[in-house]
Symmetry: C2
C-alpha cells in the first residue's frame, strides 16, 4: 500500500508530515512511501534524503493512487476529491473545516484528525497536539528572550549584579510547561497560572511559582480546562493583572481545543507593563489570550511588544516535523499488519481520531457543525 | 561639577551612558547630573525616571558648561568643539577616530577611551569592553537559537528523542565564554576554540569541549590574542573547517582590539554546513571572523543563515546600558574627591584610558595614527 506525503500549500507552513529518518519505519512494515517533490524543503529535507531513505519522489501530485495520505494541514476539498474511495488521510483537521469534511464523506475517504488522539497513555506517542505544543512553548520563550531589552539570567559581573527577568506563563498545559522549563533554563524567575488545580504541582516541579488566585479551579476532562462563565473570566483577568504588570515577559498558552481561546489579559493591562516588556501569545490564532494580539505580527502596546503566534511550531520546522511525523507513523503502524492497513473502529484510538469513514461523518461534534441530525 | 549625559546620535545605538539607578552614586559624590532630554528613551528610561533619581534634564544640548561628558559612542569633532577647555569626555573612542581626537586635542579636552581600561583587577569594574562583550555573547546565542529550525536541548518526548544542538564557539574571551554559558544553559552540546592555550580550562569549566588544533598557541598580553601570520591563519581555517561543518550553530567572537578581526571561517566552509544552520558573527563590524558577513544583515550562504552582528550589546539596551553606566561611574569616582574631579595621570588606570589631555595626544598609538612624531 502506498503512503503519500504531500507538499504543504499554506505559505506559513514550514513543517512536513514525514521526515527521511522515519521512512524506514513504514517501508519496514511493508508500505511504500511516495513524497511529492519539494515537500521536505521548508523543513530542510531534500528529495535526495527521502530517496536515500527508501522513499520515491512524485514530480506532481502523489494523491492519485494513494492509499494513505500524510499532511500537516488538512488537504482541502479539491485534493480530497482526487482520492480514491477508501483512501485514508492523516492530518490536523479542525472539526469546523466543513468543506473538507463534507468532501471526505462524499468521496468515501477515511479522514483522521490527529487533534483527536485520546489522552490515554497508549496514545501518547501519537499525540500531535502535545508534540507540537512542546515545540511552541519552547520557541515562544526564545522569541521573548531575543526581543527583551534585559537579561534573562541573574548576572553577577564586576560592573554590578543584574537581577533575573520575571516571566509569567499563563496556561500550564504542554506548551506552558515547556515555556516554564525553557525560561528556567535561561535563568529567569518564573511564575505560572492555570485554572486547573492539578497544574500546581507540575509548575512547582519545574522550579516556578504557582500563582494562586482566589477563584474556584476548573479541571476538565482529558487534562484540558473547562470553559467558564464571563463573570468568572473577568474576575480572573482582574486578579491576574498585577502579576502581568509586574512581569518582564508574559507567555500565554491557554487553549480549549476546538473553542475560542479564553481572553486572559486585557489591552489596558499590557499597556501598564514596564517599557520593553515582551508578550508572546501562542493562542493568537484561535482568538488570543491577550486582547489585540494578531497572528504573525509584532505590535507595540504601550511600551510593551505584543507578539502574536502564527503556526509557532513551524518556527522550529526540522524538529516539529520530526515529532509530528513520528506521531503519524505510530498511528499508522497501529493499523498496519503485514503490509496491509485496516481501519479497526473498535480500537479506542482509531475510533477517536476518525472523522469520516465509509461515506459517513462519524464524529458527533463534526456532525453537529455540518448540521447533520444525530 | 556637572556631568552631562548625551543623547546618542547613531541610529543603531540604543544604549545610554547613564541609567537612573546610578544617578545617586554621582550626586552622592557631590556631582550634578544633567541628562539631555530623551537620552534614555532607546534604553527605555524616561526623563521622569532621571529626574526622580536626582538628575536634571536639558532640553537641548547639555554640553555647554559640562565638566564631564558621558556618552557611548565618541562625541565627534563638532560636539567636542562645543566643550570648554579642561572638560572631560568618557566614552568608547577607537584610536582611529582621528578627527575626534584631533578636535579634543585642539579644544584642550581630556578624552578618555573606555576601550583602554587596563586589564588589571582594580580596573575590572570599569572595563566596558568586558561588560559589553558579556552582553554580546549572551545575545548572539539567543539570535541563533531563535532562528535555528532545531531544538537546542536534548528533548525526550513520547514521540521520540531529539538530540541536542551542536554549537561551536570560536574565540573564548568574555563574549565567547558568555556564549558558551548561554548555549549550555539552553542545553546544547558546545565546543569552543581559542588561539590562547589559557582558554582551555575556562572553556572546560563551562561544560564545553575544547577544540585542540595541531598548531602552536598564541597567548598575547592583557588576555587578548596576538596576531598571526597569514600562513598559520590559513592552516587554522583549514583545521577548523570540519568542526564548523559538523555544527548546527557557529558563534564567532574573535577580536584583537584596535585591529581587523581575524578571518576564521571561509565562505566555502559555511556553504558546506547543514541546511538550516545558523552563524552569528559578533565581529562583523571589525571585518568579520566569517567571510562575507555583513553588519546588521542576515544572509543565506548555501543552506546556512549568516547573521552579521551590528552593535550587538545594543540589542539588550537596558542591561547593556546599566553595565556600561556602572563602568563609567566607577571610573569617574576614582577621580572624584569631595565633589571635585581631577585627572591624576600617575594612576595607571587614568593614564591608560587617557587619549588627550591639556592640548596633547597622550596615547602613543593615537599619536602614530595622527602622524604625530614621537
Amino acid at each position: 500500500m502506498k503512503v503519500a506525503v504531500v507538499r504543504e500549500l499554506w505559505e506559513h507552513e514550514r513543517r512536513v508530515a514525514m521526515v527521511p529518518d522515519l521512512v524506514g519505519k513504514l517501508t519496514g512494515a511493508g508500505l511504500d512511501v511516495v513524497v511529492e517533490s519539494g515537500a521536505g524543503e521548508p523543513a530542510l529535507h531534500s528529495d535526495e534524503e527521502y530517496t536515500a531513505a527508501g522513499a520515491s519522489i512524485a514530480q506532481g501530485s502523489a494523491l492519485d493512487d494513494a492509499d494513505i495520505v500524510f499532511s500537516v494541514q488538512p488537504l482541502g476539498p479539491d485534493r480530497i476529491a482526487a482520492l480514491k474511495p477508501g483512501a485514508i488521510t492523516v492530518s490536523f483537521l479542525p472539526l469546523d473545516e466543513r468543506e473538507t469534511i463534507r468532501a471526505a464523506r462524499d468521496a468515501g475517504v477515511t479522514a483522521f484528525s490527529v487533534e483527536l488522539v485520546p489522552r490515554i497513555s497508549r496514545a501518547q506517542s501519537m499525540d500531535a497536539l502535545t508534540s507540537q505544543a512542546l515545540v511552541a512553548g519552547y520557541h515562544a520563550v526564545l522569541t521573548a528572550a531575543e526581543r527583551l531589552p534585559r537579561f534573562f539570567p541573574l548576572s553577577m559581573t564586576a560592573a554590578g549584579t543584574i537581577p533575573p527577568a520575571e516571566v509569567l506563563v499563563l496556561g500550564a498545559g504542554v506548551a506552558g510547561l515547556q515555556a516554564i522549563a525553557t525560561a528556567r533554563r535561561l535563568g529567569a524567575r518564573v511564575q505560572a497560572y492555570d485554572v486547573r488545580a492539578a497544574a500546581a504541582d507540575e509548575i512547582r516541579s519545574l522550579g516556578a511559582r504557582f500563582v494562586e488566585l482566589d477563584l474556584p479551579t476548573l479541571d476538565g476532562t482529558g487534562g484540558y480546562a473547562r470553559e467558564m462563565t464571563e463573570e468568572r473570566a473577568q474576575q480572573q483577568r482582574d486578579l491576574l493583572a498585577p502579576y502581568v504588570t509586574g512581569s518582564d515577559v508574559l507567555i500565554t498558552t491557554a487553549a480549549v481545543p476546538g473553542r475560542t481561546a479564553p481572553l486572559l489579559v486585557e489591552r489596558s493591562t499590557v499597556e501598564r507593563m514596564k517599557p520593553g516588556s515582551v508578550v508572546v501569545d501562542i493562542a493568537a490564532e484561535t482568538g488570543g489570550n491577550v486582547e489585540g494580539s494578531i497572528p504573525g505580527e509584532e505590535i507595540n502596546v504601550g511600551g510593551a511588544l505584543l507578539c502574536g503566534g502564527r503556526n509557532v511550531p513551524s518556527q522550529v520546522p526540522v524538529h516539529a516535523s520530526r515529532l509530528y511525523a513520528s506521531n503519524l507513523v505510530n498511528l499508522l503502524l497501529l493499523m498496519t499488519h503485514e503490509g496491509d492497513v485496516s481501519v479497526d473502529l473498535d480500537d479506542e484510538i482509531i475510533a477517536g481520531v476518525c472523522v469520516t469513514h465509509d461515506g459517513t461523518v462519524r464524529n458527533s461534534h463534526a456532525r453537529e457543525l455540518l448540521g447533520e441530525a444525530d
